[in-house]
């Protein structure tokens, strides 16, 4: 493609966290960058379920916490293990997380993504919303040289295209970079945002002013592998579930019915009493982790964020927005260097991969590559929640005048009743130790 026809140095597809971060990095490097968004505003198509960890934003804006559109700062983080009638909760809170520089926040993606895209625009990126990039443009040698958009005269050219077009990335699918459908490595997230008065939320969750709580839930998904989450916003709470697509399909259960069951759970219902549904939403989540990621750099093309399967679903750590931002910054930086060097081939863009490996994005994913399979494994999902709840229930049930059992004997007895063999417990403990080493 002749040099003169190149309209932009880079086109970034998708103004989610990855895309806006990529566009920001390119613009700051002095490159012309077009940021395309198919929604009416950045964030209009996006859904998350838990906490946004903002540390990576230190690279974007100094003292970002003074301007980010936060709902609440998460100071209280709990993990709840549910059966139909029981709940075991591990609940941690810290004053440190309620003050700058903070740890995690809840936010609405319509606010957060718009704010981050605004940072890219301030740096000089050109944002165009309500526009779908429908396909990649290639030259005769197959190198990506732009995108086609669903607007008149819609062939846009650039030296580098960065596909940040989300979990269903049409661009990566068309290019054959990711499988057409990869049901084993995606889960469905559905959630309800429920309105409650602010002071009621503060009282029920034990919070003051802008403090927030996030509860992650194991069990409570009707026997379908996955989990749940409940977190606080200013004057709403968000309750959702994530569900294995394969098991959801096989169970022939409706996602909204599973949410309804969780809402009615005795450990959850008291938090939600009197709440009214403000919005219901659904989104896929790529949970395959490191081993399911596609090749990230190609001739004239980089992939970042959910389009590259970068959500970290490691059970005790559930993160995504921060990974998208980290990857976007790296992609934008690598693209800017490749443009500067005049080589935007896959080899010229390979710095992206190296930068990701040196940062948390691929370092965490590589280390935790076996976590997604462990988290969704049969015993952890369906046997252990009831096993541990029954153990705790019997431990704390006073059986006078019958003397208390020894705890080891009790553990073995409960294990036997749940069909858990000792060697399985040991095997799983060792497996977990290896996964999280």
């Amino acid at each position: 493609m002749p040099e003169a026809d190149t309209k932009f140095d880079a086109i970034v597809v998708g103004a989610g966290p990855a895309g806006s971060a990529a566009a920001l990095a390119l613009a700051r490097a002095g490159r012309s960058v077009l940021l395309l968004e198919r929604g009416v505003f950045p964030g209009a198509k996006n859904v998350y379920g838990g906490v946004i960890y903002g540390r990576v934003l230190d690279e974007v804006v100094p003292r970002w916490w003074e301007q980010v559109p936060v709902q609440r700062w998460v100071v209280r983080r709990a993990t709840m293990v549910l059966t139909g009638t029981q709940a075991l909760t591990v609940d941690f809170r810290s004053e440190a997380w309620g003050a700058a520089p903070y740890n995690g926040m809840t936010a609405y993606r319509a606010d957060f993504d718009r704010w981050l895209a605004g940072k890219a625009v301030e740096a000089g990126a050109q944002l165009v919303t309500s526009t779908v990039a429908t396909e990649l443009l290639r030259d005769q040698r197959g190198r990506v040289v732009g995108v086609r958009v669903d607007r008149p005269g819609g062939d846009l050219r650039a030296r580098v295209v960065i596909a940040c077009d989300g979990v269903n990335s049409l661009l990566a699918r068309q290019a054959g970079i990711v499988p057409r459908a990869d049901v084993a490595h995606h889960v469905l997230g559905v959630k309800e945002v429920l309105r409650l008065p602010r002071d009621v939320i503060d009282e029920r969750f034990g919070l003051r002013s802008n403090e927030g709580m996030n509860i992650e839930i194991l069990g409570g998904t009707a026997g379908i592998a996955g989990g749940g989450f409940l977190h606080t916003n200013i004057d709403t709470v968000t309750l959702g579930v994530v569900l294995s697509l394969q098991e959801l399909a096989a169970a022939a259960k409706r996602p909204e019915a599973i949410i309804a069951e969780l809402k009615a759970h005795p450990a959850i219902a008291p938090y939600l009493r009197g709440a009214t549904v403000e919005e219901y939403s659904a989104h896929l989540i790529p949970e395959g982790g490191y081993d399911a990621m596609p090749v990230l750099h190609h001739d004239g093309l980089l992939l970042a964020g959910d389009a590259a399967g970068m959500t970290l679903a490691a059970g005790i750590w559930l993160e995504g927005v921060n990974f998208a931002i980290g990857a976007g910054l790296a992609a934008g930086g690598a693209a800017a260097r490749a443009i500067e060097a005049g080589d935007t081939s896959a080899r010229g863009l390979a710095g992206y991969r190296k930068d990701l490996e040196a940062s948390f994005v691929l370092a965490d994913h590589q280390r935790l590559r076996h976590a997604p399979a462990l988290v969704l494994s049969r015993r952890l999902q369906t046997v252990y929640p009831s096993f541990i709840n029954d153990f705790v229930e019997r431990m704390f049930t006073v059986t006078n005048p019958v003397p208390k059992p020894g705890l080891v004997r009790l553990l073995l007895d409960v294990a036997r009743r749940h069909g858990v063999r000792l060697h399985e417990l040991v095997t799983d403990a060792l497996r977990a130790a290896r996964v999280y080493r």
């Binding site: 198919r38 198509k45 859904v47 319509a110 779908v132 022939a252 259960k253």
Partner: protein, 85 residues
């Protein structure tokens, strides 16, 4: 789905090949779609309403029949608008 904002476009962004759906014994899309947009018809096929689609992708991911579902995004600026996503 009265609690979700949609800007419905004129083009159906998802289409079904009903002849394939009729031969599908699972029809998992009918229950799995979080918006409940797939409906069984009396002749054993499936009818799809695109208007209140979340654009999540569940249907094409779980569909085990190659070519049954053609899945694209709505035209720019159309489709679901999440305000509390």
């Amino acid at each position: 789905m009265g609690t979700v904002d949609f800007r419905v476009g004129e083009r159906a962004h998802i289409s079904l090949d009903s002849s394939i759906c009729m031969g599908c014994s699972l029809q998992s899309c009918v229950t799995a779609c979080p918006a409940g947009l797939f409906v069984r018809t009396s002749d054993g096929g499936i009818l799809f309403n695109y208007e209140q689609c979340f654009e999540c992708g569940t249907c094409y991911m779980i569909c085990n029949a190659e070519g049954a579902i053609t899945w694209t995004y709505p035209d720019g600026g159309h489709g679901v608008v999440f305000h509390r996503g």
